[in-house]
């Protein structure tokens, strides 16, 4: 057992191999080669990363052009959510869809961005947006109500087009 820590080499190294300088130079030459290659990173807060239409950012509710929400408070999304992040409370309305969510909350600490809510919604009322930098300073702030969730429909058009094409 104790012998294990004594390393045996397969072959004896030549003097050049023993001083490791060629290896270090080989590594450094690659470093210099990379200095003149195009840059791969972006400088994040100044340069923003713009995701494609497929991107699943935070889920949002669609607000129609006249200011109404599209959601009919059927509660399917809250049932399918694996993280139990959604809470919906339905109420009656005069509008033709008859029901609307009196209270719609998504707990962003629980949400795992799976996209099931969007998939299941019969009205196409909840979609995944492109927002990816979510910050809060306490737990209460992380529960997004209707004020934060409703987003005008024209801002989400490319996601809706994407869904129509691929679902």
């Amino acid at each position: 057992m104790e012998q294990k820590s004594v390393k045996r080499r397969k072959k004896d190294l030549s003097f050049l191999e023993r001083i490791y300088i060629p290896e270090i130079l080989k590594g450094l030459s690659l470093t210099f080669k990379n200095m003149i290659r195009p840059k791969f990173t972006i400088e994040y807060p100044e340069e923003r990363f713009i995701p494609s239409a497929a991107y699943r950012g935070r889920p949002v509710l669609i607000e129609e052009n006249n200011g109404d929400e599209r959601c009919v408070a059927c509660g399917l999304c809250s049932r399918v959510c694996p993280a139990l992040a959604i809470e919906v409370q339905a109420a009656e309305t005069e509008r033709e869809q008859e029901r609307y969510p009196e209270k719609f909350e998504i707990n962003m600490l629980r949400c795992i961005f799976c996209g099931f809510c969007e998939e299941v919604c019969p009205e196409e009322a909840i979609v995944m947006s492109k927002d990816y930098d979510l910050t809060f300073s306490n737990r209460e702030e992380a529960i997004y109500g209707k004020d934060k969730l409703l987003v005008p429909v024209n801002q989400l058009q490319d996601r809706i087009d994407f869904l129509r094409k691929y679902k």
Binding site: K10, E23, G115, F116
Partner: protein, 371 residues
């Protein structure tokens, strides 16, 4: 002749950068030499198996992502294959091809992390950045397809979430073209670097017999010279249609089954995965990807054990169903968990600094060990 010193206990972790997560190693050392190692796990336990019992079958898919978070696609693949076998679902050809492409790309991405962090663990930081650069390209491919970069929820029971992005095939071909030279560069920089070889060859030797007795799987087993890969030995999906080899360890720079061998297996496997992806994107048929997705996933009462080859070894799902929409029990055979068991054996008699080299070469993911 050896100087007799007193034994002492050294705690490594849970917040130690080389333990790849929250793992605490209790080392009993005599001077520099390891006498015994006890891994303490469970810091990342999230009750995956218990939690599954109150969820429906599709709802479990996003949670399987979170076990081995470096190989989410492969985890979903394994789970979905198990449920499909239980329900007897045949999936369309195109879906099978998409799944294989995704799983093999994921294998490359996962091995890149393993290699990169291994280099970083033992003092070579440059390869780490290069590996992450290449992995990023794979993640971009995943992102345009399914919208997420790490936890995909893409492979569904009976199909996939949605079809490939129109540019996907072209971009994948481009990636393969770019990646081959990068892999060679990585080999020059790290794999055949004499400093690296001296550090890892003949360290932590795992003989084939010990590996089999402990139930080690994946690249770690193959590095010990055992030719065993579920993609060949117990084919699932459409792996029997592709032409690829299973690399086994030969002990080029030391003994069969040493750290360098385990590391080198991953390099060779990436090359093989590239071959599979190339063949698959050339053969992929057109078709519908969601036609076989069942409206209601309600498997008949019964049980099944189904296993797939993950980047880290054999990932098995044992599912017991009572005919309702929730599984009665799901048990996961996590490759990292089983591979971790042999760790103490490998470390005995080595120096403290070698613990890091051995741990990195086993390539564990704590999310999967603790579940």
């Amino acid at each position: 002749m050896a100087l007799k010193t007193e034994e002492m206990v050294l705690n490594m972790g849970p917040q130690h950068p080389s333990t790849h997560g929250v793992l605490r190693l209790e080392l009993v050392i005599e001077g520099e030499i390891i006498k015994n190692v006890t891994p303490h796990i469970g810091y990342l336990h999230r009750c995956f198996e218990k939690h599954c019992e109150v969820m429906t079958y599709p709802q479990i898919i996003p949670y399987t992502d979170r076990m081995d978070y470096l190989a989410s696609m492969c985890n979903e693949f394994g789970y979905v294959v198990a449920v499909e076998r239980l329900m007897g679902i045949e999936v369309p050809e195109r879906v099978e091809y998409i799944r294989v492409i995704m799983a093999e790309l994921q294998r490359i991405a996962s091995h890149l992390v393993a290699i990169g962090t291994y280099g970083a663990d033992i003092g070579a930081f440059t390869p780490f950045l290069f590996c992450f650069r290449d992995r990023e390209k794979i993640l971009n491919l995943f992102e345009i397809t399914c919208g997420a970069r790490l936890l995909y929820n893409y492979i569904w029971i009976g199909g996939v979430m949605h079809d490939l992005h129109p540019d996907f095939i072209r971009l994948t071909k481009e990636f393969i073209k770019e990646f081959r030279p990068n892999l060679k560069e990585l080999n020059d920089l790290l794999t055949f670097n004499q400093i690296f070889i001296d550090r890892t060859a003949n360290v932590g030797i795992l003989p084939a017999e010990t590996a089999i007795n402990y139930g080690i799987t994946g690249p770690n087993l193959r590095a010990s010279g055992v030719n065993w890969d579920l993609r060949i030995n117990d084919p699932y999906s459409i792996y029997d249609r592709f032409d690829f080899k299973i690399p086994v360890g030969k002990g080029e720079n030391g003994t069969v089954g040493d750290c360098w061998n385990r590391y080198y297996m991953r390099i060779l496997e990436m090359e093989e995965s590239l071959k599979i992806v190339e063949q698959a994107i050339n053969q992929i048929p057109d078709g519908d990807v969601s036609s076989a997705i069942p409206k209601r996933v309600k498997p008949p009462a019964g049980q099944i054990y189904s296993r797939v080859e993950n980047p880290r070894g054999e990932l098995g799902y044992f599912i017991v169903s009572d005919g309702s929409v929730n599984p009665t029990r799901i048990k996961v055979r996590a490759p990292s968990f089983v591979n971790m068991v042999v760790f103490g054996e490998l470390c005995k008699g080595h120096m403290v600094a070698d613990v890091v080299a051995i741990l990195g070469s086993i390539d564990i993911v704590l999310g999967e060990i603790d579940r």
